[in-house]
Symmetry: C2
Subunit: 353 residues, 2 copies
């Protein structure tokens, strides 16, 4: 590995997001957008039409590097996030995963402790090597001041797909399994914790400055399930990663985690907390230590609407976070129908603040 | 109207739920279950198979009374909630509403202020008369100690169906409309507030002891939208109802309202707060005044799982709420695959506490 791929800025190069992740308030705040390499961009849609399946694209560094760079060229975001999907992890463990156009992911569901024991016949590191190659190429292609982000799904979110075989309202199949067969759920979560640590370590080694853990489905977890299925597994991933790569920085995104956000903050292991759009910053930020970096939380649909609603939404986030270490972002992924001009407006307004 | 249908218990008759709604702690707590008249009951499925469409069933007092009484006969719940649907309100305003088996409701979407102006050609009171007849018959059929509950959807929840024409993830079409066309959204919400007040007044006149307002989709509202689209319209409904029927009691259910729950509590207009299953009572109850009644919040999927998870879940709710004015309930509607024996277990365990 050479100095270009350690994920550390070289002498004199400021990566604004890394300064924020170190607890410094940077103004105007750095900005990137969740799912910024995506279908709202015509150049992405063109690449996508020429690519094979969605997972093929994730495993093809030529495609993945190009679509990761597209929004950087257009908008000059302060971070590039590698183009990939959280479901490459179950795929790397041997579970069958595919994407149905217009519907989303499908997996052959797993249901028992035996199914968990059978996972992992494929070599995860070998299988995910294209992801790491994508990161290495991205670090070389990016300007030194642009941060490079990796990511994975949190175990509960990934497990809910692995059990249901698809996205399900309130993750009902996985929640029933959690109540009815806790040994199975524990085995699956443990397996995902171990694999995610290895995966994130390799991402950092390949050049990721920081990684984001996506707990997209925190909102459906009841009090008895949140600690064992969400908070504790994420804690173990972060501590496992940091034990091996102390320089790694971790952003944790609990989507819909409002009621449980305080527990994540108190747990203290996240380097930054990504806030979803439903959170009222005026009420949420006073509960977050002033030096703990935050990220978010504009409603992606205010970005679709544009106009006065967009300007007011941007200004409200800026006003609430001024003086704090904050990374400007949406409160969830950008949606396909977002006009590109609205994204331009967002970047201008944040940078002009 | 005779004394039987005023919704007030006659001399010496205790309706436990009404005592709790007056701020008294009753032990063991009264219990009912959201969507207790539903598909988990074989006798409901049999009635349903013989009925016409779902809405026909809501408008047929013979059916509606019978299915409302089914769970009361089986389990002796402390409250009967009239069998109906929140979408009878847009239907009463002239919007086309129908139910697709296995998929849910469908409506001809509305999109403009003109569409709102065209609503209401049908006489709402005349259209909803079968609902009131159902309530009158129920009050006569129920034992004096069983409370009778009416309900309506909160304006935002109902509006999100009216705009999208169906249930949609995170209510995206309605949220975009809220940002892009606030005048339309305001007109629609205002219309629903007025109609809901009339509707609830008539429910109370027909014998409802208390009503529950269902804000099923609170979780997707960003900070700038929550106050104007959810909190303020519910406040106006409650104050409009109480101005005309001071004896009315109102339970407000903000599903997924975790981050905004404190605002509802502070607003102070709800007689009781129904808590969804994602809320950790140990963290939530200290923020709710000791005399403000609560309801909930067992995970409906713990009831599906049964066994140790069910017992632990019931015991946790009981332990957290002991000494408070609390109505035992689920944190959301019971789901069709719930075994009837698990409901029996729940009632026994709550009553034996």
């Amino acid at each position: 590995m050479n100095a270009d791929v350690t994920g550390e800025a070289k002498g004199g190069v400021d990566r604004k997001i890394m300064k924020v992740l170190a607890g410094e308030s940077v103004w105007p705040p750095p900005v990137w957008i969740m799912r910024q390499a995506g279908r709202y961009l015509p150049e992405y849609r063109e690449m996508r039409a020429r690519a094979g399946g969605f997972l093929d694209m994730c495993y093809n560094p030529d495609f993945a590097v190009e679509v990761t760079l597209q929004p950087i060229r257009r908008f000059g975001f302060d971070a590039a996030i590698m183009f990939s999907d959280i479901l490459v992890v179950p795929h790397s463990l041997g579970q069958n995963v595919w994407f149905v156009e217009g519907e989303g992911p499908r997996l052959d569901p797993i249901a028992t402790t035996d199914d968990v024991a059978r996972l992992g016949e494929r070599d995860p590191h070998l299988h995910l090597e294209p992801v790491f190659e994508t990161l290495r190429r991205l670090r070389r292609a990016l300007a030194p001041e642009t941060a490079l982000l990796g990511f994975c799904g949190a175990p509960w979110t990934v497990a809910s797909y692995m059990i249901a075989g698809k996205s399900t309202p309130d993750q009902a199949p996985a929640r029933i399994a959690a109540y009815a067969d806790p040994a199975f759920m524990r085995a699956l979560i443990d397996r995902l914790v171990e694999t995610s640590i290895d995966y994130l370590v390799a991402q950092v080694d390949a050049g990721a400055d920081a990684v984001q853990i996506f707990e997209s489905f925190a909102s459906a977890l009841s009090a008895p399930l949140f600690e064992p299925l969400s908070l504790d597994p994420i804690r173990r991933i972060v501590s496992g990663l940091k034990a091996r790569r102390p320089q790694a920085r971790v952003i944790v995104f609990l989507r819909g985690g409002g009621p449980n956000l305080a527990r994540l903050v108190e747990a203290g292991f996240a380097d930054a907390i990504a806030l979803d759009w439903s959170l009222d910053l005026a009420r949420t930020l006073p509960g977050i230590p002033a030096k703990l970096p935050t990220q978010g939380n504009l409603d992606p649909l205010a970005l679709v609407a544009g106009g006065a609603a967009l300007d007011a939404g941007i200004d409200a986030v800026l006003a609430a976070t001024k003086g704090r270490p904050h990374i400007f972002n949406l409160g969830h992924g950008i949606v396909p129908q977002t006009p590109v001009t609205h994204v331009e407006r967002l970047v201008e307004r944040v940078r002009g603040s």
